[in-house]
């Protein structure tokens, strides 16, 4: 095998397995059924063995049929345990797949002589042998067999997701609505599980029963962190499968390790990166939003303190140390500096006062604050209870909400403490 085609076929096999699993896996994650992917990848074993015994060959077609039937049986068992016999759902999954897997193991060992099934291969896969496992049409060498198998499965999965996009969507989002418009959510469920079973079996030979579970779940879970659009999630999920295959192959070369293993390690790394860097749901994004929020609250408090001070005396008497006490020190320091930098507040001889824009902004906040106090007071909270909730709400009150509160307080000009509610 030459230096280009050998690696090419291996990477292509991994990419097709990753993309096939990624497409369906996104749905498993969305439907909160990740565990079912794990279950099915084990539960199909007796199906494969029986297909072997009946067909007497390693042909993929009987194997796929056996796997699909067995996968659907597992799904039906799980549903029956859960819905009809009221066993907890996770318990049902646990029982059904271990029982079927055990049955498979028993069948393999009982018919050991007739089943040419390498258990190592089932569990860990042999992607490195891909280039030598050829498919022939008579005399013609058509290329590696796993590429053909996984290519077909990928095309089928892609067609399934594209053609039945609408049905998958409604059945996943709202099963009852689906039924009421004539889409059987149960049928969609079984077809999806059948497809997962076939995909698992197709990927078995290359990546093994254990790693295929990762391929089903990890790209979908990662993609889910990046987007709120189903189409984007599906694309990303498949793409992450492909990227992991390529990067995993080269990583395996560097580490001199299992190729399929390295591919899944890359998937795990992609998930970790997603968890940290995904814009909306990532940890970093969340952290940044939190800091921004507390900064905003600190800025508001500094402005309010200056405005209140202005109400009571003509010359500012507030120094750095007075202002910095309005919030956690580290945040309020930054808040004061940013307000100065924007010109909302100014410092003269060590004392701070509001700039022109600062006055406008702070007045609006004070209006929010006192409106809230009056409103909460009118709702029945005693005057000494209203300050803290108003303090929390004043930062998040937009024009619309402010007008609504104003409308609910037609004849009130002062807050419960008798302080004037400023216009603005």
């Amino acid at each position: 095998m030459d230096e280009f085609w050998g690696p090419f076929w291996i990477v292509l096999t991994g990419a097709l397995a990753g993309a096939s699993c990624g497409l369906l896996g996104a749905y498993l994650v969305l439907r909160k059924m990740s565990l079912l992917g794990d279950a099915l990848s084990h539960a199909v074993l007796p199906g494969i063995v029986i297909a072997f015994l009946l067909s007497g060959s390693r042909d993929v077609i009987p194997m796929f049929i056996g796997a699909a039937i067995c996968g659907v049986i597992a799904t039906v068992l799980i549903e029956t345990f859960h819905r009809r016999w009221r066993v907890q759902e996770d318990t049902s999954i646990g029982i059904a797949f271990t029982a079927l897997f055990a049955l498979g193991v028993v069948l393999i060992t009982a018919f050991a002589g007739q089943v040419d099934l390498d258990q190592e291969c089932v569990l860990y896969g042999e992607i490195a042998y891909t280039p030598w496992d050829r498919l022939f049409w008579g005399e013609w060498d058509l290329g590696p067999r796993p590429v053909w198998i996984l290519g077909t499965v990928f095309v089928l999965n892609l067609a399934f997701v594209l053609v039945f996009y609408k049905e998958l969507l409604i059945a996943s989002f709202d099963a009852e609505m689906a039924l009421s418009v004539g889409v059987s959510a149960a049928l969609v469920h079984y077809v999806l599980m059948g497809a997962v079973s076939v995909t698992t079996v197709a990927a078995f030979e290359s990546v093994g029963a254990i790693l295929v579970v990762a391929m089903l779940i990890v790209p979908g879970a990662s993609a889910y962190l990046w987007s709120d659009r189903l189409k984007v999630i599906l694309t990303l999920s498949a793409l992450m499968g492909v990227i992991s295959a390529i990067a995993g192959y080269f990583l395996a070369g560097v580490w001199n390790s299992s190729i399929a293993g390295a591919m899944v390690v890359v998937m795990g790394a992609l998930f970790a990166l997603s968890l940290i860097f995904a814009p909306h749901y990532g940890l970093l994004g969340r952290f940044v939003r939190q800091v921004r929020l507390s900064l905003r609250v600190a800025r508001d408090h500094v402005l309010l303190k200056l405005l209140r001070d202005r109400e009571s005396r003509s010359v500012s008497t507030l120094s750095w140390s007075d202002l910095v006490d309005t919030a956690a020190r580290r945040v309020s320091g930054i808040a004061i500096r940013s307000l100065m930098w924007q010109g909302l507040i100014t410092r003269e001889k060590g004392y701070f006062s509001l700039g022109e824009q600062g006055v406008t902004y702070a007045t609006r906040l004070l209006r929010n604050h006192r409106l809230w106090e009056s409103y909460l007071n009118q709702l029945g909270l005693p005057p000494d209870h209203v300050h803290d909730p108003a303090d929390a709400l004043e930062h998040f009150t937009d024009d619309h909400l402010r007008e609504e509160i104003r409308a609910a307080l037609p004849n009130i000009a002062t807050d419960p403490q008798g302080k004037r509610i400023p216009d603005g």
């Binding site: 609408k166 409604i170 989002f173 418009v181 004539g182």
Partner: protein, 261 residues
């Protein structure tokens, strides 16, 4: 209440329907003929079987006995004439789609399997969003909508179904006053266009104001008819009566034996 029902003009005709979950009956021997063009309230305590009745009409839960006819025909042949607003909590609002996607689902029954929504479906969906005052929110992710807005999206989806009969499961639950007003306006408008609505409702204060027809249920039909005739203290006592009704005791007894005790 024995009188002949002209089925061809009766939107929903339920005959001797009993529904059971795991053999435990939750709705007994329901007989009901809902007249056309009425805004019908379905009122009763928690666990009275209100949602169950609506779901049983649409074959979403199996019937232990009895039948339902929609304009004289079984539901399976009349799907397209029924629009459905499920309880808001029945779906995952973190699902990665936007409001317009949800409303478009209302068109799926008309589009049929495999085919994609076309321009007309999109226009109808946008029209429905406009009717519920959500034009600007079509491309908003559904997890960024408030509870009231989510309920409006569900209503818009039902409107997009362009049905004759609407079954609504607590459309007023947990919505703000403005949304409640908007929803009731739409229901009144639907009634003016001769649509029939069955609305599960909780707030007894608004029953008189909202509904011209009323079904009081507590595991069975307590009373059904014009609101002015049915909405009486006596009937409400029968519906909400403090003690366990004989029926719920019976249901518990059945469940008890089911568990083999």
């Amino acid at each position: 209440m024995l009188h002949a029902v002209d089925e061809s003009v009766t939107p929903i005709h339920i005959h001797d329907m009993t529904v059971a979950y795991h053999k435990k009956p939750v709705l007994w021997d329901v007989d009901l003929a809902v007249p056309e063009g009425k805004l019908v309230g379905v009122v009763g305590p928690n666990g009275a079987g209100k949602s169950t009745m609506i779901k049983a009409i649409m074959d979403l839960v199996p019937k232990a006995s009895g039948w339902v006819h929609i304009y004289g025909k079984p539901y399976s042949r009349m799907r397209q004439v029924i629009g459905y607003v499920p309880q808001r909590e029945s779906v995952d609002w973190d699902f990665p789609i936007n409001a317009l996607d949800v409303v478009l689902m209302g068109r799926y029954g008309h589009i049929g399997w495999v085919r994609r929504p076309d321009k007309i479906d999109r226009e109808l969906a946008e029209e429905a969003l406009e009717k519920v005052g959500m034009t600007d929110f079509g491309h908003r992710q559904i997890n960024q909508l408030s509870g009231g807005q989510q309920q409006r999206v569900f209503l818009a989806r039902a409107l997009a179904q362009d049905a004759q009969i609407y079954l609504m499961d607590e459309p007023f639950a947990g919505v703000d006053a403005a949304t409640e007003r908007a929803i009731i306006d739409i229901l009144m408008d639907l009634r003016a266009r001769k649509k029939t609505m069955l609305v599960v409702h909780h707030d007894l204060h608004t029953v008189n104001q909202y509904f011209d027809w009323l079904v009081l249920i507590n595991m069975r039909i307590v009373a059904a008819g014009e609101t002015k005739d049915v909405f009486t203290d006596d009937n409400l006592n029968k519906t909400y009566g403090g003690r366990l009704t004989v029926l719920s005791e019976a249901a518990q007894a059945v469940a008890h034996h089911q568990r083999g005790l």
